[in-house]
Symmetry: C2
Subunit: 356 residues, 2 copies
C-alpha cells in the first residue's frame, strides 16, 4: 500500500484569524516540510520546527507516522508548492507556493500543475492508493473552491472553535477579487482552483484523475479538504467510484454534514476512530478535544489499520510524541518548538494568539 502526499503552502494561511500567521509566519511556512520529514524519518530532520501546539497537540503527521510504523505502507511525497526545503524526498510537479486567495489569481499555473500531476498519477504501479495532503490554510482554500463550484457546505478546522464565519468572509472577498460569484465555476474546477484554491488542490486533483484513468482504486485521506477535491472531480464530469477516509474527530464535529455531502457527491465515507480516549495522554486528549483533527493523510492511514493493531498504533503514537518533545503525562508539556497553525500544523489556544 502506498500513500501519496502532496505538500505545499499558500499565502492564505497568513490571513489574521484564519491561522496563526500573525503569530509565526516563518514557522508556519516550515510546517509542511516538517510534516513530510516526520512521515519519512519519524521526526523533523531538516526543518527547523516541530509542529506541536502549545497545548501539546502534535501535527497529524505524528499519527500517520505511527500507523506507518505498524502497517508499513510506502510513501511518495509530492512537492506541491513547498515554501521551505525539506530533507524528505519529493517528486516535483513544478508547483510554486499559492498566493493569498484574496488576490485575483491564487494559483496561476493550476492547469500545468494539474497536467503534470495527472501524468504522475498514471504511473504508480499500485492497484490501490491513498492520497493525502498537508497545507496550512487548506480548509479556507477548500471553502473557496467549494463555494466557487456552487457547493454549499461548511469546512472543518484544526481549532476547537472553528472560525467558519471568518473563513466565509475571506472567501467572499476572494471571489470578488477574482470577479466571481458563488457557483460561477460550476463544471470548471481547475478555474475554481486557479482563482480561489491552492497548489495542493491542483496536485491532488491531477493525481486523482490520472490514477482513476488507469483503474487505480483511490481513497482520499482527509476531511473537508478532500470533499473539495471530490467536488472538483464530479464537476469535471468524472464518475469513477471514490472513497474519503477521515477521522471521527472531523466527522463528529460536522454533525452529519460530511455524510450528507459525500452522499451527494457519490463518495463512500469511511470514518475511523483511533481510540485516543482509551489512553491518559495529553496529545490524545487534545485530539479528543477537537484539536488538529485531520491532515497529512491521517484518516486514510488509520483506515488501513485492523482493529487488533490499533492499540499498537497508540503505542507508537506515544513514542513519537516523546520523540517530538511532548511530555505525555503533563499537560503543560515541554515543547521544543511550538508551531501554532490552523490547519493540521497543530492548533492554537485562541485565534488571535500574538506570539509563539
Amino acid at each position: 500500500m502506498r500513500i501519496v502526499l502532496p505538500a505545499g503552502t499558500t499565502e492564505t494561511a497568513r490571513i489574521e484569524g484564519i491561522s496563526a500567521a500573525g503569530a509565526a509566519p516563518t514557522l508556519l511556512a516550515h510546517t509542511p516540510s516538517a510534516d513530510v520529514e516526520i512521515l519519512e524519518y519519524g521526526r523533523p530532520t531538516g526543518a527547523p520546527v516541530t509542529p506541536v501546539s502549545p497545548t501539546g497537540c502534535p501535527t497529524p503527521a505524528a499519527v500517520t507516522r505511527a500507523v506507518r510504523e505498524v502497517v508499513g505502507f510506502e510513501v511518495t511525497v509530492v512537492d506541491a508548492g513547498l515554501a521551505k526545503p525539506t530533507a524528505a524526498p519529493t517528486v516535483d510537479v513544478g508547483a510554486e507556493p499559492g498566493a493569498d486567495i484574496r488576490d485575483p489569481i491564487a494559483v496561476p499555473d493550476a492547469d500545468a500543475i494539474y497536467d503534470r500531476a495527472y501524468t504522475l498519477g498514471t504511473t504508480f504501479p499500485d492497484s490501490k492508493l491513498v492520497i493525502g495532503e498537508t497545507i496550512p490554510g487548506g480548509t479556507t482554500t477548500a471553502l473557496g473552491v467549494l463555494t466557487a463550484l456552487g457547493e454549499s457546505v461548511g469546512v472543518s478546522s484544526s481549532l476547537p472553535d472553528n472560525p467558519l464565519e471568518r473563513k466565509r468572509a475571506v472567501v467572499e472577498e476572494a471571489l470578488a477579487a477574482s470577479g466571481l460569484e458563488a457557483g460561477d465555476c460550476e463544471s470548471a474546477p481547475i478555474e475554481a482552483i486557479r482563482a480561489v484554491g491552492d497548489p495542493v488542490q491542483a496536485t491532488v486533483f491531477g493525481l486523482l484523475a490520472g490514477a482513476l484513468e488507469t483503474g487505480t482504486e483511490i481513497t482520499l485521506g482527509g476531511g473537508t479538504q478532500m470533499v473539495a477535491i471530490a467536488a472538483a472531480l464530479r464537476h469535471a464530469g468524472i464518475e469513477a467510484s471514490l472513497t474519503i477516509a477521515t477521522t471521527v474527530f472531523v466527522a463528529e464535529k460536522r454533525d452529519g454534514e460530511l455524510e450528507a455531502v459525500c452522499d451527494r457527491l457519490d463518495c463512500e465515507l469511511r470514518v475511523t476512530d483511533p481510540g485516543f480516549d482509551r489512553r491518559d495522554h495529553v496529545s490524545m486528549a487534545r485530539y479528543c478535544a477537537g484539536e488538529a483533527k485531520e491532515g497529512v493523510a491521517m484518516g486514510g492511514a488509520l483506515s488501513l489499520v485492523g482493529d487488533e493493531e490499533m492499540d499498537t498504533v497508540r503505542d507508537r503514537f506515544e513514542a513519537i510524541c516523546t520523540r517530538l518533545g511532548i511530555d505525555g503525562d503533563d499537560s503543560s508539556g515541554d515543547l521544543t518548538s511550538p508551531t501554532p497553525t490552523d490547519d493540521h500544523g497543530g492548533s492554537l489556544p485562541q485565534e488571535e494568539d500574538s506570539g509563539p
Copy 2:
C-alpha cells in the same frame, strides 16, 4: 535500515568507447532516472527507457530492488545531477549534470554540493546507512579523481572487457585540460572532484562526511567508484571507520587489487556473492559473465541479505527481470527498450556498438 542513493549524470558518459554514448545518448541520460524508479516502484514508471542490455542483462537496480522486496530497507534518493525527470521522490542538493571531465572544470559547484550533502548527511535518524550511487560514466570519473589524488589503482567496468586504457587516456586529457598532473590534488579531494570528477561524487562524499560526523555507521555500496570516495575521505584527513560492500563480480575481476587498495585506505571490504550461478537464467548468466557487475548500491544491498534469504532474492530478481521484459529462458531475450551504457545501465556486447 536505509539506503541513500545519489543519482546523477555526467557528459563524460558520452565519450566514444567509454560508454554507449555514440549509440544512444538520450537513453543514457534517462538511465539513472529509470534506475531510481525501479528501486522505488519495481519498474520504470516515468522514465521512457528500461535499462536492459541487448544480451538480457538488466541494470543492477533490478538486483537492489529484489533485495528490497525481501529485506524491506528504506530508500532516500538524492538528485545529484539528474538530466531527465524521474517519478521517484528525490531530495534536492542543487546539483546539475556534470560536464565532460575533458573540460577545464567538470563540477563547477562541487563545494556547494558537498556542503548541502554534508548537512543532509547529518540529519538522518538512522544509526547505520548504506550509501550507493547511479551515474553512467562513473568509473571514468572515479579514475579521474583517484589519479588527481595520486592514488594508483585501476577501476572496474560494466563491460566484460574493461576499456581501461581508453579511460586512462581520457583521464590524462582531462587532467591536462584542468592544468593538473597526477597527484596534484593530494589532500584536496573537492578540488579533484571539481576538476575531473562528477556531481554524484560530490554528493556521496558530502553525505558520507556529514553522516560520519554524527556518528552514523556507514557502508559504501559499490566497487571502484566507492574506492574513489573512500580515497577522497582519507585525503580530507577523516579517519573514521568505513566499509565498502561490493559484489563478487567486481572483486574477482580486480584480482586482489580491490582488497589491496581498501587495505591501504583503511576500509573494510565486504564481498557478497548472490549465487547467480545456481540458476539457469539469462540475466544471472550475464552477471556471472562479468556484465554490469555493480551499481545502484547493489553490493551494499546484498550485504544486508542473510544466507537463508539469498534464494528468495534470486526468486524476486527473476520476477523483476520478467517485469522488465526479459525472457529468462531465452538468451536472445525479448527486450522492451535496451539501453546500452557502460556504467550499470546494462552493458554492451562490444565497445563501439553503433546502434541501440
